[in-house]
Amino acid sequence: MSGRLVRLAEKARPPLPFEFDGEALTGLEGDTVLTAILLSKGSLRQAEFGPERRAGFCLMGACQDCWIWQDDGARVQACATPLVSGMRLRSEPVGWPGDES
């Protein structure tokens, strides 16, 4: 499936591998988690209070629409978090969110 976002510039950066819902994807160094996921996918997560999916809204850390999870349970604000090589990201929580230890 092709993603929601389109790269218009800054395409010559080193690639970074990561996982989203178990699928191997590739972003570029300097991408936010939101950018990296939405270049391949149409959304970040399911809305909690409605039937629709969500893909962020403000991109400046204000609307809180873009919170997703990592495999270890930690929450990530996708628009404000830089992608790190090997990140294992999820659209849904595993067990109790935040229960890391």
């Binding site: 389109v6 218009l8 950066r13 962020g56 991109l59 609307c63």
Partner: protein
């Protein structure tokens, strides 16, 4: 030495920091971004290569200067700088800050608040669908990530960013299918004259950009609904100034109506507020030296949305007020105050030329989502409006509009408009939503981890500077 805390490193915070350092103080600067610059002069991450002229257009020189000056203050250790750090709570003389290393408590004697603004949003049915973004989001994506948020883009709303963003996106190679302005042309012309009187070059530049948009720009539009399916946005339904219905196919809609001052921290700092009918929002009260209380100074778009040039001036004035109160300066504030008055005249005329779409919000269908955080509809809010006595805080408790994770940043003004329409009052009469800590959601893990840098944050004066 007096401990001054500056919150925000956009144009206002940067200029305030510079002015304090020039007077021999060493402020602490906290900013939520990884790199200083604020939203309008937001910098891409390290390693991006587009030049400032591509990123900031006609404002490239200002952006470069602010970035360079701030980086110099940090490099020369004139300030203590906490990037990627967010103020979650403010009490008398202390701020709770959460950053990558955990939480720390910053004690201060004086506070310069330059917390900035977000887009001001009016709901359109379907705006909860993936592929709907704020205008600011589309600009950030382009500037800081080099991406477009969709393949076929519609921009809607009103205000200067609508035109600017359309030009920037097209320039970068994105497809912008339509630019839909809710402001009628008659008001744009009438108040455009007052804009031109206050700032002729800025107005002319805007006009030139507007003319370059050609046939895809429409004024006096009413936005009816965003259509979509499980894949997200598919089309925007709208009516032109003569009432004719149009459907524009797209996979992304970005919307916004100017700016909304982000006043949560000003509220927590104890500022009092008044309704501004020009800016159609609640704004904190300040005296002529931008004081909002004992040792509290408010600068930038978070206090009054005047734009980046106004933010620079108000940052300098706030710093000067702080220096006056510390008896470290007797410089005359009048030139700064006069320049700010010109910005104010311009911004006021602009807010009249491109007004808040009150009628569109009042007429929203019952099924329209008002609160994007929790999917609460206009119907739910209207049903509770009378029970709440038309009071915004009571309506918030009953309906949860304003209680979600964004703390009302994106629904407060629409909610007030709907409450007002249902109960026969004005938005001002519905009252202002009280802010709560934390100012942003924070994970329990981040809150509990103590930042080991805590004890080292107050800047000591360099030996060579006394």
């Amino acid at each position: 030495m007096s401990r001054v805390l500056i919150i925000g490193a956009g144009p206002a915070g940067i200029c305030a920091a510079q002015a304090l350092v020039a007077a021999g103080l060493s402020p602490v600067v906290v900013d939520s971004a990884a790199r200083a610059g604020g939203q309008i002069y937001r910098r891409p991450p390290e390693g991006f290569t587009r030049p400032a002229t591509t990123l900031y257009g006609s404002e490239a020189e200002k952006a470069r200067r602010l970035h360079r000056d701030f980086d110099a203050l940090v490099a020369q250790k004139k300030i203590a700088y906490l990037p990627s750090s967010t103020v979650m709570a403010l009490g008398p003389g202390a701020a709770e800050v959460v950053g990558p290393e955990g939480r720390c408590t910053l004690k201060f004697d004086r506070l310069i608040l330059a917390s900035g603004a977000t887009d001001r949003l009016a709901p359109v049915p379907g705006w909860e669908l993936p592929g709907t973004y704020s205008l600011g989001a589309a600009q950030i994506a382009l500037k800081a990530q080099g991406v477009a948020l969709g393949r076929k883009i519609v921009l809607a709303g009103s205000g200067p960013l609508l035109t600017l963003l359309a030009c920037q996106l097209r320039h970068a190679g994105a497809e912008v299918a339509a630019i839909l302005d809710t402001a009628p042309m008659s008001g744009q012309i009438r108040h455009g004259l007052a804009m031109a009187c206050a700032r002729p070059w800025v107005t002319l530049r805007g006009l030139r950009m507007r003319l370059s948009l050609g046939q895809s720009y429409h004024a006096a539009v009413s936005l009816e609904r965003i259509d979509g399916d499980s894949g997200g946005v598919r089309a925007l339904h709208w009516r032109d100034g003569r009432g004719r219905a149009h459907v524009t196919a797209c996979d992304m809609v970005a919307m916004g109506w100017h700016l909304r001052a982000d006043t949560i921290l000003a509220d927590l700092a104890g500022a009092s507020f008044e309704w501004s009918s020009d800016f159609a929002q609640w704004l904190p009260k300040r005296d002529a030296m931008l004081r909002a209380g004992q040792g509290i100074y408010l600068a930038g778009d978070g206090a009054r949305p005047l734009g980046a040039d106004g933010a620079e001036l108000s940052g300098r004035l706030a710093a000067l007020a702080c220096l006056h109160d510390l008896e470290l300066s007797q410089d005359d504030p009048a030139p700064l105050q006069r320049a700010l008055a010109r910005m104010e005249a311009f911004a006021t005329a602009m807010s009249r030329a491109f007004p808040w779409p009150a009628e569109q919000v009042r007429g929203l269908p019952d099924r329209a989502v008002i609160c994007r955080c929790e999917g609460i509809t206009a119907r739910a809010l209207r049903a509770l409006a009378r029970e709440a006595g038309g009071d915004a805080n009571r309506a918030k408790s009953l309906s949860r509009v304003g209680m979600g994770r964004c703390q009302g940043r994106y629904c407060q003004l629409a909610g007030a408009e709907i409450l007002a329409a249902t109960t026969g009052r004005s938005p001002a009469q519905t009252g202002r939503l009280r802010a709560q800590s934390p100012a942003r959601p924070v994970t329990v893990g981040q809150w509990l981890r103590r930042d080991p840098r805590q004890d080292h944050l107050t800047v000591e004066p360099d030996e060579d500077r006394r």
